[in-house]
């Protein structure tokens, strides 16, 4: 137990270090982005005078480190600043609503693709080289090969345009909340499932095959244990390890990087907010979004590591993962 605790503490430490380094890199990257935010805000009719006074008013002319310091000191106490456009509106009031939507979408997708791909992966692994394996593997490869903007369009065409079961776009009608419009989650989640299914089911299949051919499983089968018992009690736990790593590594993407999917469906989540922020050079908002996504990535990797060490005692007892 102490070992696990020390792993957690050490991982938390490196998480904080990662975030500090990343915050600076994000700040620098946004800084060297081409284009001028004041020019962008004011448009073509901006005179040089107007651009200069806007830069002055927004503090864009201050030295780099001073601006970085100002930003970080705000972030530390939870103040992400104001959008460069919406003066008087805190980013906190824009961002968290979108994050909530994105989390809901990520969870819906997660509930859909994780059991589905693990189940079919195990099935394919157990039935290696049989017909069901071929079908599952073919389907997995096919969906994996389609980028989400292609599978998304196909899904829209089938479910929204032809069958008319689901809305074409995933917008929340004005005056309603997302809870009254859960149907908008399904198509984006399904297109994420398309991307993830092939990936995870293939990983699950190959690790299942490896485990099923290992000596201890063969011994268990030979000594007459029921096959179901062997698969679910002995093989599955070990065969899940690589799959969990893959799922964990994709959690960051799932919770913050769904820019293409959200934009395609017009879903009001964090990905489409980031897209808007980048398009309009809304520097503080870009920084807030990217930092949050970084934090989610770091956190999900950490949770994966901890789960991994729980599932695999060898790592726990060697005192850290390699």
């Amino acid at each position: 137990m102490n070992r696990t605790l020390s792993i957690v503490v050490r991982r938390l430490g490196s998480l904080v270090a990662t975030l500090v380094v990343m915050s600076f890199i994000i700040f620098l990257l946004v800084e060297i982005m081409p284009g001028d935010v004041a020019q962008m805000i004011l448009g073509q009719s901006a005179t040089p005078e107007a651009v200069a006074s806007l830069r002055e008013a927004r503090g864009l002319d201050d030295p780099l480190m001073q601006r970085y310091g100002r930003w970080v000191s705000g972030v530390v106490v939870g103040d992400l600043g104001e959008s460069i456009y919406m003066q008087g509106v805190a980013i906190n009031s824009i961002l968290w609503r979108r994050v909530g939507h994105s989390v809901l979408l990520a969870m819906t997708a997660f509930i859909m693709f994780v059991p589905l791909s693990i189940f079919f992966g195990v099935l394919a692994g157990v039935k290696e080289n049989k017909l069901s394996d071929s079908i599952i593997s073919f389907f997995g490869l096919a969906t994996m090969a389609l980028p989400e903007f292609v599978s998304g369009v196909i899904l829209i065409t089938v479910f929204a345009v032809q069958l008319q079961w689901l809305p074409i776009v995933s917008v929340i009608p004005i005056g309603e909340s997302i809870w009254q419009n859960l149907s908008i989650l399904f198509l984006p989640a399904l297109s994420i499932t398309f991307v993830m299914f092939g990936y995870i089911s293939r990983m699950q299949r190959s690790s299942m095959i490896t485990v099923m051919n290992s000596d201890y499983v063969r011994a268990a089968i030979l000594k007459g244990m029921p096959r179901k018992y062997v698969i679910f009690k002995h093989a599955l736990k070990n065969a899940l390890l690589p799959t969990i790593t893959i799922i964990g590594m994709n959690m960051g993407w799932l919770f913050g990087g769904l820019i293409v999917v959200e934009t395609l469906f017009g879903f009001p989540g964090m990905g489409s907010l980031l897209m808007t922020a980048i398009k309009t050079r809304d520097v503080p908002l870009i920084e807030a979004c990217v930092l949050l996504i970084t934090a989610i990535y770091a956190l999900s990797t950490m949770i994966t590591d901890i789960m991994y060490s729980y599932l695999n005692p060898r790592i726990r007892f060697q005192g850290g993962q390699r």
Binding site: S45, L54, Q87, G88, L116, L166, I168, P173, N181
Partner: protein, 504 residues
């Protein structure tokens, strides 16, 4: 066991979409609502408003006068009458009485004075600062009279008051703190709820000064970053109006019943040739470029429309929709003549030049490619340099020899001429400094007699046709609307007038 799990999963897979689909409901509303999908706006406070979210701002704010979308004449709004003295040097406005702002305060002459004086606020970066530097003082003899004294005569000054950044603001409202989150004016609709970067709900202003307007109860505006997503919303009957669509989308929507695409007005794209840089410092090179152009091909390939039907081409800064326009027949495409001119100018083997433009601005890339293709046979080797619009405007515009820039139309083009074609003008992209044109622009600005003014305009256009450094392509501004919407009005000021709109 495995079979049971398999079957369960299969059932789930089929059942879940149906459950979700069941959640889709249609709220039966008695209210008349119009739904709009617009670009995500930048700054929206009038003065620094960048010209997005027109449906929202034009419904919340009002102006002293409006342009009538049908006649092009001035309509009284917050000013009921106006007159000018001393040949356009003094302007007196009588204001409408009994008008209140959405926060309940009365609209008076103080608010007009505040709005005009605000243009010169050094901390604001007001976009109309240059145009209003001519104002010497603003007097308010009583609560409903405003007298504007100008430094010099400006017989067409009133048109400045129709500019979208000249919405009348309340002198007692804190626009610095609230302008972006709680816009407030005297308009026919008021802000009910705004979710930043996502949506805005406007409701009918019960205290609107015209008891017969507006016809609608609500305007629901979605801010959608992606135009394709906006069009999907229109096709899915989730919105009724989508502005700023492209010709490609228009062609697609033309096939769909119940949706129409209209073009309330046209915008301009100026292809500017800098007269103080090679190769366009020689008028023969500029003429050669003009001889290489084909207006019909430009209209078809850029706007996917016929010349004169939504798109237009001329070689002067004046739009063909304006009374000041002088129709000069096109010279006709003549590649041989263009080659001769180039040879005379010292380029017998043709020449290379960069054409810089904003690649993400509507029609920018199409126009650049068309010009490149049309000019090639005459010996112009044009290299295309496309940049995102902010990079283009901040780093290249006004500095490069050959460029394409978008310009909105103006009811009164005199100010545009002074800023863009007079020596020392702040947006002088052709770098022209011709005494004869400088003089004509000054005369246009100060001439009281409309007929004489029109004469000056004609003179200017003839000069441009022969010597100018400009190709002017008019492109359509396109709006897709559901056929149930009636009376969509939007004049050249770009401000849609939702108060007249109704639902069939």
């Amino acid at each position: 066991m495995r079979r049971i799990i398999g079957i369960t999963l299969l059932i789930l897979l089929i059942a879940v979409p149906m459950v979700f689909a069941g959640g889709d409901k249609e709220a039966a509303e008695e209210q008349k609502s119009v739904r709009v999908a617009e670009q995500v706006p930048g700054l929206i406070t009038p003065g620094v408003w960048d010209g997005q979210a027109f449906s929202m701002n034009s419904s919340i704010y009002e102006y002293l006068v409006d342009i009538n979308a049908e006649t092009g004449e001035l309509d009284p709004v917050l000013a009921t009458s106006w007159k000018t003295r001393e040949d356009g040097k003094v302007w007196e406005f009588k204001l409408r009485q009994g008008v209140t702002f959405h926060d309940g305060t009365d609209f008076t002459a103080e608010d007009v004075k505040f709005t005009i004086e605000r243009t010169q606020d050094p901390g604001l970066g007001h976009l109309k600062k240059a145009d209003f530097e001519v104002v010497a003082s603003v007097e308010t003899p009583d609560d409903y009279t405003v007298v504007v004294n100008l430094e010099e005569a400006r017989p067409t000054f009133i048109y400045q008051m129709t500019d979208y950044n000249m919405a009348i603001l309340s002198s007692s409202y804190d626009y610095a703190a609230l302008g972006e989150s709680r816009p407030m004016g005297t308009g026919p609709f008021k802000m009910q709820q705004m979710i930043p970067k996502e949506s805005a709900a406007l409701e009918r202003n019960e205290n609107y000064w015209d008891p017969n307007l507006p016809h609608l109860d609500r305007i629901l505006i979605y801010f959608v970053a992606d135009i394709d997503a906006s069009v999907s919303m229109l096709e899915d009957d989730r919105v009724d109006i989508v502005p700023f669509i492209t010709p490609n989308i228009k062609n697609r929507l033309d096939e769909i019943d119940g949706i129409s695409v209209i073009s309330p007005y046209q915008e301009q794209r100026f292809i500017a040739m800098a007269v103080d840089q090679e190769p366009f410092d020689d008028n023969r090179v500029r003429l050669a470029m003009k001889y290489a152009m084909d207006p019909e091909i430009i209209a078809r390939s850029v706007a996917q429309m016929e010349l004169g039907d939504g798109a237009y081409y001329n070689e002067t800064p004046i739009m063909n929709a304006l009374a000041e326009y002088k129709e000069i027949p096109h010279r006709g495409r003549d590649i041989e003549r263009a080659k001769e001119l180039l040879a005379e100018a010292g380029y017998p083997n043709g020449l290379s030049v960069d054409l810089t433009y904003a690649s993400d601005h509507p029609f920018g890339r199409e126009l650049a490619q068309t010009v490149q293709e049309l000019a090639a046979p005459a010996g112009f080797d044009i290299r295309l340099r496309g940049y995102t619009r902010d990079v283009y405007l901040s780093q290249y515009w006004l500095n490069v020899p050959f460029s394409i820039t978008g310009w909105g139309g103006r009811i009164d083009p005199s100010m545009l001429l002074a800023l863009a074609f007079k020596g020392g003008g702040s947006w002088n992209e052709t770098h022209m400094d011709e005494p004869v044109i400088n003089d004509l622009i000054d005369k246009i600005a100060s001439e009281v007699d409309p007929d004489q003014r029109t004469m000056y305009y004609h003179e200017l256009q003839e000069w441009f046709h022969e010597n100018g450094a400009l190709l002017n392509v008019q492109v359509p501004y396109l709006v897709a609307i559901n056929d149930s919407i009636v009376d969509y009005r939007q004049p050249l000021t770009m401000l849609p007038q939702y108060k007249y709109m109704d639902i069939k």
